[in-house]
């Protein structure tokens, strides 16, 4: 390898990167002989997770003092938001004791315009009902758009939804809701076909056959992708389809800060704040509501960097928990094994698992493998933390960050020159613009906060415990149990977006407009907050996180 390719690396990293290059040929030969690093047994998996995964750190969580999941431990940063008072706009409404006339009315209200929300909108709009999407930032700004690697779906001859189901349960350590996991896998081929019809460009052979590959924890090659920008391509297509529908309206920069219910406890609308209008409060009335607010990465649990979108601050969890809806598995969050550790401007952003799917290995600072590269994500993450903390075998950056190498150049050695450029056009050109040639140098990685595995409990049609309220996508829990496999989030948002869209439209068309909108569903929660002495300055949802001198809002 020419040393010039390493020019962007500081001295301490350069030497280690040269070590990686030195062991590469040997490692490639072993792969070509069909050898791979041994996979962990279920017992070892468990031991590594308990010792090294951030979920298991006692100081990372605390038990909730109020609400339906009282006494359950959740990440401290999330507990602080769940145990918080409504925002000032809502507290004014509580004090006035009356909700003003609705400013906006619709049949189906969808909160969130990422993949799940937009999919739900497309499906709900088929009924001819009026659909309104409200979203915190712009339509499409979401974690969906950032997904790189792909979408699972059992469409190959050697595969079936049953095999997929088995992988999903094993990946989730057998903690998944079986009905939700069944729905996910069962609808896989339909979801792929739906996207194909919408004109989404999958990686295909000239015959039309899908190109598929392995992801961590899969027993079949089941991962379908669009280069390394699968989420971007999916979101572009979904939003383009949606904005062509006459009965769908969208309000951007309008986060929802509270749900509204009638006297029967049915959700009949929501309270929004308009960020571009001085956070002015507005009331939306709807016959049914779909929650598609996404995850919590921007809470930076345990100060981890995150791969998440700017608006991922757990809004949906705050709204539903206050309304008395139980969640599950929120103590389990996904730290993606390969977040960028250097260059530091990119710290926390992802290097997709697809690199490992094509053969790139994780190696320590001596260039040695220390884990089978395609273990389920939580196991790989634990292994990297173990290698860096227990054995100090990580490479250290000038500012003191540590990481292991993802040996990307070996992909071209395994599959032929040009493969990296072709399979990862987005990442390749992005790094190239920063003077880094991915075909020549490994990238330093460390786990990054990536996905909220748990969430609000739903049934197979997306229904929650409140009549009229549905949820889909990352905000919901149970589909993945304690740990999600790669490619199942994009599948989930299509499958459950469609299911929730259908069910919410049906609910809206079969019922009247409901009773007087009110806030009675949070009254007992407010009493509990008072009893638990939660200071009144702590409010939620937090719409945008705090960075530098900019305060959270």
């Amino acid at each position: 390898m020419s040393e010039r390719a390493l020019n962007h690396l500081p001295e301490e990293l350069r030497e280690s990167a040269l070590e990686v290059a030195r062991t590469r040929e040997d490692r490639i030969r072993r792969i070509q002989r069909g050898e791979s690093f041994p996979q962990l047994s279920l017992t070892d998996r468990k031991a590594w997770l308990e010792d090294f995964h951030p979920d298991y750190r006692a100081d990372g969580k605390r038990a909730l003092k109020v609400g339906v999941n009282k006494d359950e431990g959740v990440p401290v940063e999330l507990a602080n938001l769940l145990e918080a008072w409504p925002r000032a706009s809502v507290r004014d409404l509580v004090e006035n004791g009356r909700i003003p006339e609705a400013d906006f009315e619709t049949d189906v209200l969808i909160i969130g315009a990422g993949g799940a929300g937009v999919t739900a909108a497309i499906e709900a709009a088929k009924s001819g009902l009026d659909v309104l999407i409200t979203t915190k930032l712009r339509a499409g700004d979401s974690n969906t758009i950032m997904a790189e690697g792909g979408i699972q779906g059992a469409d190959q001859e050697c595969d079936s939804p049953l095999q997929h189901y088995l992988d999903v349960l094993g990946g989730g350590h057998f903690s998944n809701d079986p009905d939700l996991a069944e729905a996910l896998c069962h609808d896989g081929p339909d979801a792929l076909s739906w996207l194909e019809e919408l004109g989404m460009l999958f990686d295909k052979y000239p015959t039309g056959r899908m190109k598929v590959r392995h992801g961590g924890g899969t027993s079949r090659k089941r991962l379908h992708s669009s280069g390394d920008m699968t989420g971007l391509e999916m979101m572009r297509v979904l939003w383009d389809q949606c904005r062509n529908l006459r009965n769908v309206n969208v309000m951007e920069f309008c986060p929802i800060v509270e749900l509204l219910t009638d006297d029967d406890g049915r959700v009949v609308g929501a309270v929004m704040e308009r960020l571009n209008h001085g956070n002015e409060m507005k009331v939306v009335k709807a016959k049914s509501v779909i929650l598609a607010t996404g995850g919590l990465g921007r809470l930076h649990l345990q100060s981890f960097p995150t791969s998440n979108h700017y608006g991922a601050t757990a809004d949906g969890l705050v709204l539903t928990y206050r309304a008395g809806l139980p969640f599950r598995d929120l103590q389990h969050n996904q730290y993606h094994p390969s977040g960028i550790a250097f260059p530091e401007q990119k710290a926390g952003l992802l290097i997709t698992e697809k690199f490992r799917g094509l053969g790139a290995q994780l190696v320590n600072r001596f260039g040695d493998e220390f884990v089978y590269s395609l273990e389920p994500r939580d196991v790989t993450t634990a292994a990297i933390i173990r290698e860096c903390s227990e054995f100090s075998h990580g490479a250290t950056t000038p500012s003191g960050n540590v990481g292991v190498w993802l040996d990307i150049p070996m992909i071209d050695d395994l599959h032929g020159k040009g493969t990296i450029e072709k399979e990862f056009p987005g990442r390749y050109s992005e790094f190239y613009r920063h003077g880094i040639d991915l075909t020549k140098v490994p990238v330093l990685v460390y786990p990054t906060l990536h996905y909220q595995n748990g969430g609000v409990r739903i049934r197979v049609d997306g229904a929650t415990g409140l009549p009229g309220l549905y949820a889909a996508g990352e905000v919901s829990g149970g589909v993945h149990g304690k740990n999600r496999l790669m490619g199942n989030a994009l599948l989930e948002l299509i499958v459950f977006g469609l299911r929730a869209g259908r069910a919410a439209a049906e609910f809206a068309s079969q019922t009247g407009s409901g009773g007087q909108a009110g806030l009675s569903h949070i009254e007992s929660y407010l009493d509990d907050l008072k009893a638990a002495d939660v200071e009144e300055t702590r409010t939620a949802p937090m719409l945008l996180p705090r960075y530098g001198k900019a305060l959270a809002i």
Partner: protein
């Protein structure tokens, strides 16, 4: 994500006409936040794919107007940045279904006839913050080579920097998006195996299979999981089959 200032120097940049003292070595977004800017608009994924943080800028030593995604580009002393949170675009409503006798190529040119008026000034290609040869794919759309256009425009983040600079009033990202979708829906071969898989999903066998798996106790299920046969990484597409086919439905 904390970045240690370390050897950073403090420099002055202008954002939306106002001066800010910021540390060097950071992205525009991170530097401005350090100086107290609260982004609400002009920010999105912070990962270089959503196009929300598109901005135009100039640096002191260069008269040329440039564009950047603010979450990706590093600050330079004396630079002047104008964010573009919104841009009015030509955006046509359409249905993916083609009228009888209509080709995808003609359909897209009817939706976006201004594509034909490209004067080849190349400003779009020059300004693109993610390095796409925009003028190149505009030509491909015009010529009807949708395969090439789809590939050339694939990494577009829809930021509209090109549209903002186009003297021929083209909204290039929207024309490309339509071209890609018509190409994907009408010109790429459909996956036959996918349709076969869909048929398999709704059979009695599949329902029985799920019932059987869901009835298993934890130990039985774990055993089955650990005994899974794994498809070899190098197997040719659609050729390998497991020895145990009971889960194939």
């Amino acid at each position: 994500m904390m970045m240690t200032p370390g050897n950073d120097q403090w420099i002055t940049i202008h954002y939306d006409g106002e001066p800010y003292k910021v540390p060097s070595g950071r992205t525009m977004v991170s530097a401005l936040e350090t100086a107290g800017v609260r982004f609400v608009r002009s920010i999105g994924c912070r990962g270089g794919v959503c196009g929300a943080c598109t901005a135009f800028y100039r640096t002191p030593e260069d008269a040329q107007l440039k564009s950047a995604l603010m979450c990706q580009e590093e600050v330079v002393d004396g630079m002047s940045i104008m964010p573009m949170p919104f841009f009015p675009q030509n955006q046509m409503s359409y249905d993916l279904e083609l009228p009888k006798g209509m080709t995808p190529q003609r359909q897209v040119m009817q939706l976006y006839p201004e594509v034909g008026g490209c004067i080849m000034c190349q400003e779009c290609t020059r300004i693109c913050p993610v390095g796409i040869d925009v003028m190149g794919y505009v030509g491909m759309i015009k010529r009807g080579d949708f395969k090439a256009a789809a590939e050339a425009s694939f990494t577009c983040v829809q930021c509209q920097a090109c549209a903002a600079r186009c003297p021929a009033r083209i909204s290039q990202p929207n024309a490309a998006l339509a071209a890609r979708r018509f190409y994907g829906a009408h010109m790429v071969n459909r996956a036959e195996h996918l349709q076969k898989a869909r048929e398999k999903v709704n059979t009695e066998d599949m329902k029985r299979g799920f019932r059987r798996l869901k009835r298993m106790d934890a130990e039985e299920l774990k055993n089955l999981y650990q005994r899974r046969e794994s498809e070899p990484a190098q197997s040719a597409p659609g050729t390998w089959l497991p020895e145990d086919t009971t889960l194939l439905g």
